[in-house]
Symmetry: C2
Subunit: 237 residues, 2 copies
């Protein structure tokens, strides 16, 4: 059967768990990620941990230094700016394509997501951050290009990481209104406005961030990983 091709490997699960932990600020930039400890924590051998780390390194979420192990990436301010600039350029294309594919279902789906964002507006921070990122990923999905989705996801995650480095807490809330505006422009088929709004939104997100750098030490504190590891050990996604 062909569905078996879609069975997730344990490596996928571990990568996802680590990625989530990074994006939800459980693993902060600079933290060391020793293969042994992670393997123990996830209940697998170093082989699979290594694969996961290499994958995340390819995505730019962690840094891999020869013979010195992995740590959560600490992108520079300049890199952060470059990421947002590139993201803006790419999401421009997302907007164009979503407008081309437009159907009522698409607006419904976007509004459904927005509702979730509103609901979580005053909830725990990690959740609202995740939802805000997922709005952009949903848009990319609706653009109907797997290639585009792949890069929007990756760059979106990297931007999320930079925010955990440079943004101060609670700088994400105001994004919801901007998301709503974008949906409205898309609904009326006004491509030009939608693009301008998206550019403005991304610039605003970047501007709200990019302040002080905390310079937290590179300590290893993997205990917070436990809930993520448990899911993998139990075979969940």
């Amino acid at each position: 059967m062909k569905a078996s091709d879609k069975v997730k490997h344990r490596t996928d699960m571990i990568s996802s768990a680590l990625r989530s932990a990074i994006l939800e600020r459980v693993l902060m930039p600079g933290m060391k990620l020793p293969e042994d400890s992670l393997g123990e924590r996830f209940g697998v051998s170093r082989t699979l941990i290594r694969q996961s780390l290499e994958r995340l390194a390819a995505e730019g979420l962690i840094e891999l230094r020869r013979n010195k192990g992995a740590m959560v990436a600490k992108p520079s301010l300049e890199e952060a700016r470059d990421l947002f600039e590139l993201r803006t350029q790419i999401e421009d294309l997302v907007i164009s394509r979503v407008i081309k594919n437009m159907t009522p279902d698409i607006i419904a789906e976007l509004e459904g997501h927005l509702a979730k964002e509103v609901e979580a507006e005053h909830a725990a921070e990690p959740k609202s951050i995740r939802l805000a990122t997922e709005f952009h990923i949903l848009l990319a999905k609706l653009a109907g290009s797997p290639v585009l989705l792949r890069y929007v996801e990756e760059i979106g995650y990297r931007c999320g990481l930079t925010l955990s480095l440079y943004a101060r807490p609670h700088s994400t809330d105001c994004g919801i209104a901007e998301h709503r505006q974008i949906i409205e422009a898309l609904a009326t088929g006004d491509e030009d406005t939608a693009r301008k709004l998206m550019r403005h939104h991304l610039n605003a997100v970047a501007d709200r961030a990019l302040f002080t750098t905390d310079e937290g030490g590179p300590l290893v504190y993997l205990d917070a990983l436990e809930p993520y590891a448990k899911k993998v050990r139990d075979g969940g996604a």
Copy 2:
């Protein structure tokens, strides 16, 4: 010392060798890549081959099917179009940034590369293909953003792969004139023209391709890899 961080692993060398082989059409789309044979050929164990294959899979140059091994990716026509569309969008940003950084040295470097392209115009095909791709990569380097470079490289390579699937031989030559025009526009600082030319150039490349699909069988013929493997075994880059 810090330079030791830049020492290339054997995995890097193997990945590069395989990547070159794919881009130079030595490994054609659909070819199977068994870990054992590759390991033997490169003189390393399956461990390193596996790492390399996973890396190339992350770059979209090969496909990895669960329990069924790796094969050189065979992107669909639609995926090919999406790749070129995305590439066009991203290289737009490259042009902007190169113009912002403009110095006489930059023009000189570009013209130096163009000279190489002219020289190789009637040389063996793999070389001219490689040089054409490297022109875009050089531009991305001159844009001064490592992030941008990383994605231009990756997507450029993927586009190169699609060309080996869909383009007929000798469809690359005419690109040199277009490269020259782009350089001229950059030299005069005319951003708008440069962008238009780049868009036109990429569309032309995509259009020249995207014809018949040969449907070559998924045979394994790794003998052609020998020259690439030798370099790795001898420790070269």
